[in-house]
Structures are given as C-alpha cells and as structure tokens.
Amino acid sequence: MVQQVVFILIAIFTLGMALGTVISRKLFHAALFLVGTFAGVAILYVLLEAEFLAVSQVIVYIGAIATLIVFAIMLSRSMMDKESGAVNKQWWAAAGGSVLLFAALALLLSKVPFATTSAAVPDDTIAKIGSQFVGVYVIPFEVVSVLLLVAMIGAIMLARERHG
C-alpha cells in the first residue's frame, strides 16, 4: 500500500520532469529537468531493490552525463536560445505518433499476463554482478573498455580546440 503510493508519486514526478525536458525552451532548464528525471528513475530502482543500479544511475547520469550536457550547452550557447522556436514543423505529428505509440504499448502491456515470481533478492547480488563481469560476460566487459577508449579518443579529437 505504502509502496504503491510512493510509486505513483515517483511516477508522476519522473514523467513530469521528462515532459519538462522535452518541452522547456531554455536548454539549461531542460538539462535540470533531465537531472530530475534521472533522480526519479534512481528512486524507482531503489523500489525495485536494485540498489547498485540506483547509485550508478545517480553517479553516471547526474554526476557525469548531465554535467557533460551542461558543459556542452555552455560551450555552444550563444546561438542556442535565440533560434526561432524550440520545435520543428512536424512537432504535431511527433506528438500524435508518441501518444499513439504509448496507447498501443499500454494496451498491449495490460493485456499480456507476465509470469512473475515473488522470490526475494539475494544479499550477494553485487558480488554476483562483479563475478559475472569477469566470468560469463568477460567479452562485453572488455569490449566496454575498448568502447570507452574509442569514445574518449574520438571525443577528444572532435572537441579539442585546434590552434594555428
């Protein structure tokens, strides 16, 4: 009961923030709304008892990605807010499409009976995650390091100020 109320409040908060992100005209405000959305999703993860993911969500999305976005906004900002209109000409089609997509998904999801279990989350979940990184999922684990390396090199190449 309490959990359901908390869930509904968090859901309203998260969706409101997400709407603010896509609607707000000022880019910095959009970024702050995005931070709010990420925080709401992190609380949802806590409700799902995925505490490691909840803190990772805050660390990576709020601490890193949102900061990166704000920095990029500041770097390219002089053109930003003066451009006419936040949305393009097909925005109404996009809105209609999104609403339709949501209606279809919601209908579908409420019809499908998912086989759920009420098993509890084991205490050593984080240790299991860690041993799977270097066990079953060692290839994706190493590929992620390569991906991050490539992303870092590529982004430095792109963003660096060239002198002379």
Partner: protein, 399 residues
C-alpha cells in the same frame, strides 16, 4: 556501574520497545523510528558545524599568530551562534536577472548533499543510520549532487564571475573525484564489502596496526589530498580565491542562503574527514571497544576531528595552486598512481600470503610506488623549470 551496558544500540532497542508497547502497528513504529533517526542526524550535523567553525577559526588564529574568536562566550565558543543570528536577520538580495527557482534551489541542494552523506557514517559499531550494501558508492552519488548544486548556483546568479567560478569548481570536483574514488576502491578490494560499518570492522586486528593507513598508506595519501580538493580547501581553493575571482559561484548569495553554502562547506570538510577516519583509520576501532561499545563513539570522533584539524592546518599553511598545476597534479600524478596501486594490490592479494607478511608486502609496494611516482614528478618539474629558464640562460647545466 557496568560499563559494557553503555551502548548506543541499547537506546535504540529501548526506544523500539517503548513504541511497540503503545500498541501501534509495526509499520508506523518503523516510520517513527526512521523519522526520529533522520531528525537526529540533521540536528547532529547542524550542532557539529557550529563547533567546527569555532574550532577552525580558533586554530587558524593560533597558527597565524592571532587570537581567533574570543569575545562571545567562554573562549569565543558562542561566536558562531552570534554569526548565525546575524545572518538570520540579514537582508536577502536576489539579483534582478537571476533564474529564481534554480537560484533558490542551489543552496538547498548544497546542504542536502552533505546531510545525506551523514546517513552512511558509522559513529560506533552498528550505530549507523543506514548500513546499506553500497555505502561507498552512495557517498560518491551524493557527491555528484553537490557538484550539480555548484553548477546551478553559478548559472542561476546571472553573473560572469559566478559562472566562471561554477565551472571551475565543477571541473575541480569532477577531476578530484576520480582519485578519491579510486583510493576508496582499494580498501573495498581488500575487505570485499562496500558497507561502511564492514570497512571499519575489518580493521580491528593487531591493536590498530590493521588500519588501512598502515597497510595502504599511499591510498590514504591520495584520499586525503583528493579530499582537500573536494572540500575546496587551500591549497585547492582557487575557485573561491577572494582576491582573484571575487568569491566563486556563491558571489551573488547573501543572508541565509549564503549561510547554507558556508555551512555545507564546513560540514563537508568534516564528512570527508569522517569517511577517511572510517575507511583508513579504523573508524570506531580502538582498545577495549569490544568490551565497552560506547568507546567507539569517542574513538571515531577523535579520529575524524584529528583529520579535520590536519585539513585546517594544511589550509592555513600552504599557498594556493594555479588551475593548470591543480589539474595536471590530479590527472598526471594522483590518478596514474591510484591505478597502478590498484593493480599491485589486486595481484598481491591473490598471492594469498600468510597474514602479517601480506600487510608488510602491501606496505612496501605502497612506498615503492609512491617513491617512483615522486621521482617522475620531480623530474618533470625540473624539466619544466629548465624550460622556463631557457629564455634567459644560454646554457643548460647537465643533470
């Protein structure tokens, strides 16, 4: 009187039984307990800060051959209270172009992130508000909220200096978060837990020689330097260098809102000292703590205040760094050393040496990595000095 019954946990159990005795539902009892716990943490944090500000001002005064606060109350102890009262009645000026909501939210978030960190600090064995599975990462997560607050304050003030200060502070906080986290990762590697209480408990062996500051001194040094930068203290205080960029991201704040930034700053200093004390200095561990659990509180506060005093001492002694020096010190010295240390510690632990030898080998490897790192640092510094002198001296002496 039986000293072993002096235990904070007993108070908690007594309170629990008292509430259960009134016939309330278990859920409501849980709620009231959590609420009381949260309120206690908040009150504790605010009271502590009043004392810390006095302590730091007194210390800074003595170190700089002054008296420090000595007028209000005995030894000036009530000076902070007087300052707080003054700030409460100060006019609150909001710059006319400020982004109101963000501007008001920023100081609240700055306080928020420090108070949230208190939740995972163990004051004595199991006297901890929330001994969660991901304690260390939780601290990192609330730190991320702190840098967001600085960014928001800098942007919302609509002031060039505030914005520059905000950007600088975020660049510094982000950069030094990496060595801080990597330094905290190494004790986690040794103990295999992220619970703060578990980390403190793991350091009980050999009457204090089991503290990670002895087996992993390099990790502690990296942690301490990075924590100085995280709390924006000298020598890393160039973002609020009063003489250079006015005052940093909080320049436009006045009255109570400024007070919140100031308070968050001091509480953050202590919180990082407490984290350092817990992870590296054994937390509540000390002689006879198993017999009399209440002693743990005294040990913990003694250690955390010791680290706080060292922070204040460093602050009043060292000159300020330049931003380029600060950044390269982080990325070219602290981070590589932390990474190398992580690799070495992981390999040494997998050799499964007998107990005292493992500690000695860890200590030796720490010292060796530190010496190698320092020699590299010294060489590059000499090179930089010669490069800057080249314009004036025609011949460069051979090294």
């Amino acid at each position: 009187m039986d000293l072993s019954s002096l235990d904070l946990r007993a108070i908690g159990a007594w309170f629990h039984n008292l509430l259960m005795g009134t016939g309330m539902s278990a859920m409501l009892v849980q709620f009231i307990e959590s609420l009381v716990g949260a309120l206690l943490l908040l009150i504790f944090g605010l009271t502590l800060v009043i004392f810390l500000i006095w302590l730091e001002r007194k210390l800074a005064g003595r170190i700089q051959d002054r008296l420090g606060p000595n007028r209000v109350g005995p030894y000036g102890l009530m000076q902070t209270m007087a300052d707080a009262l003054k700030l409460l009645t100060k006019e609150d000026v909001t710059p006319f172009d400020a982004d109101r909501v963000t501007y008001n939210l920023a100081p609240a978030l700055a306080v928020f992130h420090v108070i949230m960190a208190l939740a995972v600090i163990p004051f004595a064995d199991q006297v901890i508000a929330a001994d969660i599975n991901v304690g260390v990462l939780y601290l990192m997560a609330v730190g991320a909220i702190g840098s967001m607050a600085a960014l928001m304050a800098g942007w919302a003030s609509n002031n060039k200096y505030a914005l520059i200060g905000g950007f600088r502070v975020v660049a510094q906080l982000l950069s030094y978060e990496i060595p801080l986290v990597l330094a905290m990762l190494i004790p986690v590697l040794v103990t295999g837990t992220m619970r703060m209480n578990g980390l403190a408990r793991a350091q009980g062996d050999y009457l204090g020689l089991g503290w990670f500051v002895w087996t992993l001194p390099l990790a502690f040094i990296i942690f301490f330097i990075a924590s100085l930068a995280e709390v924006e203290r000298a020598p890393f205080d160039l973002l609020e260098a009063e003489s250079e960029i006015v005052a940093g991201y909080n320049i436009e704040y006045s009255g109570m809102k400024f007070a919140w930034f100031f308070l968050a700053f001091f509480m953050n200093s202590w919180v990082l000292a407490a984290i350092g004390a817990t992870i590296f200095l054994g937390g509540w561990q000390g002689p006879f703590v198993d017999q009399i659990p209440a002693l743990g509180v005294i040990y913990f506060f003694a250690k955390s205040l010791f680290l706080f005093v060292v922070q204040a001492w460093v602050r009043t002694t060292f000159p300020r760094l330049r931003i380029d020096q600060m950044m390269s010190f982080c990325w070219k010295f602290l981070v590589p050393m932390a990474l190398v240390l992580f690799g070495f510690v992981a390999i040494i632990l997998k050799l499964h040496l007998p107990s005292p030898w493992e500690g000695i080998i860890l200590l030796l490897s720490n010292v060796a990595i530190l010496l190698v790192g320092l020699s590299f640092l010294g060489r590059s510094q000499r090179k930089a000095v010669y490069a800057s002198k080249r314009a004036f001296t025609p011949t460069i002496p051979r090294m």
